[in-house]
């Protein structure tokens, strides 16, 4: 094969990549206050400073981290259990996989829709408890939505992210278990021990990648926190959206500055992820397909 083919092969993705980077750069410039349409021309950092200094920023950041970290960690753990359940009960194909794909295909807006109708104090869960006599009035049902504990949002994210983690890491874990998992069991390791010592560590790359994807997504997503979240403090993406729909168009740089901060923190997370996974790779030695 001649030298040129790789460059031909990657041409489309590079073109799209350049377009993407140009778009992001252009977006970031707006966050420094350069929007000629609203005759804002002088670049300055004070939009960022003003956003960071605003009293609600730290609370928003805390809430957003609280939501994304907890939901992603829980999703990674439950997702791994789900993958193990699929692999060990031999359901790596067939109907259950279609059901899991169904969860992936439903967008977050629809998840918000049924989350409210299930988890609200007037929702189905509350009515069930009422019918069973466990609670007497709507007020007794714990407040899952619109509160600081963000349980409603986290449950909403879990509903979509647990199946995603499973779908993402299934093929790798299945192949590992079929060969190395079998060998471990044959060498005297119980199914649990062979899972913990062999199958899980070797499936980590896929699980970790899925974790990064859901972490960065839930950190930057706006749908669920807006519809299910507390009024104060709002999650960062919701705050950014409120700034974005602010009628005074010259408010736009604040929205873009907030988005810029979201981007910065997201890339920080990605950076930490690559550091950890590379360091582990160097120490652990990249494993070849068994």
């Amino acid at each position: 094969m001649n030298k040129k083919t790789p460059y031909i092969l990657i041409m489309p993705i590079v073109l799209l990549g350049v377009l993407f980077i140009y778009g992001v750069a252009n977006g970031i410039i707006q966050s420094f206050g350069y929007i000629p349409a609203f005759n804002l021309r002088d670049l300055s950092l004070d939009y960022y400073i003003k956003v960071i200094k605003s009293p609600t920023f730290l609370d928003s950041l805390k809430v957003t981290l609280h939501i994304s970290l907890i939901s992603s960690i829980l999703a990674a753990v439950l997702g791994t259990i789900l993958t193990a359940a699929l692999v060990y009960t031999g359901h790596t194909e067939g109907k259950i996989i279609q059901v899991i794909k169904l969860a992936i295909l439903i967008p977050h807006t629809i998840v918000a829709l049924f989350s409210i109708s299930i988890l609200s104090q007037n929702g189905l869960l509350a009515r069930l408890l009422y019918k069973l006599g466990i609670i007497s009035t709507q007020g007794d049902f714990p407040l899952l939505l619109y509160t600081k504990n963000n349980i409603g949002i986290i449950l909403g994210y879990l509903w979509k992210e647990v199946p995603f983690v499973a779908y993402f890491s299934l093929s790798l874990m299945a192949s590992i278990n079929k060969t190395l998992g079998e060998a471990a069991e044959n060498l005297g390791a119980s199914r649990l021990k062979s899972f913990i010592h062999i199958t899980l560590p070797l499936s980590m790359p896929a699980i970790a990648k899925a974790f990064l994807i859901i972490l960065t997504f839930s950190f930057g997503a706006y749908d669920l926190p807006f519809l299910l979240g507390a009024t104060v403090p709002k999650a960062l993406p919701v705050q950014a959206h409120v700034e974005y729909i602010h009628p005074d168009l010259r408010h736009r740089p604040y929205a873009m500055a907030m988005n810029g901060l979201i981007l910065l923190i997201t890339w920080l997370m990605a950076g930490i992820y690559y550091l950890i996974s590379n360091r582990k790779k160097l120490k652990g030695g990249s494993h070849e397909r068994a």
Partner: protein, 338 residues
Amino acid sequence: MELELKNISVTLSKKEILKSINLRVEDGEFISLLGASGCGKSTLLKTIAGIIKQREGSILLGGKALDKVPPHKRRTVIVFQDFRLFPHMTVAENISFPLKMLGLHKDKCRERAVELLKKVKLEGFKDRHVDEISGGQKQRVVLARALAAEPVVLLLDEPFSSLDINLRKDMRELVLDLQKEYKITTILVTHDKEEALTMSDRIAFMHNGEILQYDTPENIFKNPVNTIVADYFAEGTYISGEIKGNRFISRFFNVDINRDDGKYKCLIRPSALKVNKAEDGKFQVVAKIYQGDNYLLKINKINSSLKLESILNEPLDIKEGDKVSIELDKDKLIFIPE
């Protein structure tokens, strides 16, 4: 511990792979499952180890039934053909993995691992990474790992097939020494007849899901139970005839042999035929093929359809086209009942 299989049969995705296998392996015995690929020998191995569940029949180890025992408690350790070393562990960690599973203390594991490494002549490879070592070394690590699991039965699934010839010889010796030293009941699955003949106390010859013959290497070589077994070991020409009163009579020759009467097929292997130059010989040399340390002579009986082959060791000056006479070595003839 002696192992016994009682009419084990296995079907995988609707195809019957093993048809009511009966096999008994004495304690410390080294047997091999010999047969062409696809005859079900690997499946039998995995069934013994519990990885595959048999449809019927039961497996007894030291008299106790194994069917209810989960694979990781059977101590029936397999050495797989594709090694299956744990990539995220060093050589020492791989070897001490089974010990860790048995709950031994860390230092005890390391110590045992080093000891086993010495046994497989891999001192100093302790902290090497598994993908930094060669095929032969990998095979030895896998063997050490298997021994670390203190197997009651050692199952070898064509372990040497991916090694080159001379490496294979040392590994065979190593496996035999270790097996003798630890006196482990061992089953070797192989399609290489020489491996089976040289290593095992007894050979179970398998053919599409059944054991055709289970006997010492000599018997199986000398008196195969049917043509399939016979041909597997060494090709030759068949002459059918009949034995009456300890005398085999056939169209081409007769010979005295004390076997009970009945119709028989006589297999004449090249090693059983001696040839010497004779002007008035009834046979003619058709081809002379050089095979390194001997020659293979192909000879036809003049105006007859009989074709025979012979091995010529000393450099006799027989050329193609010469007439020769033949001499049958009586005790190398094989008689197979029809």
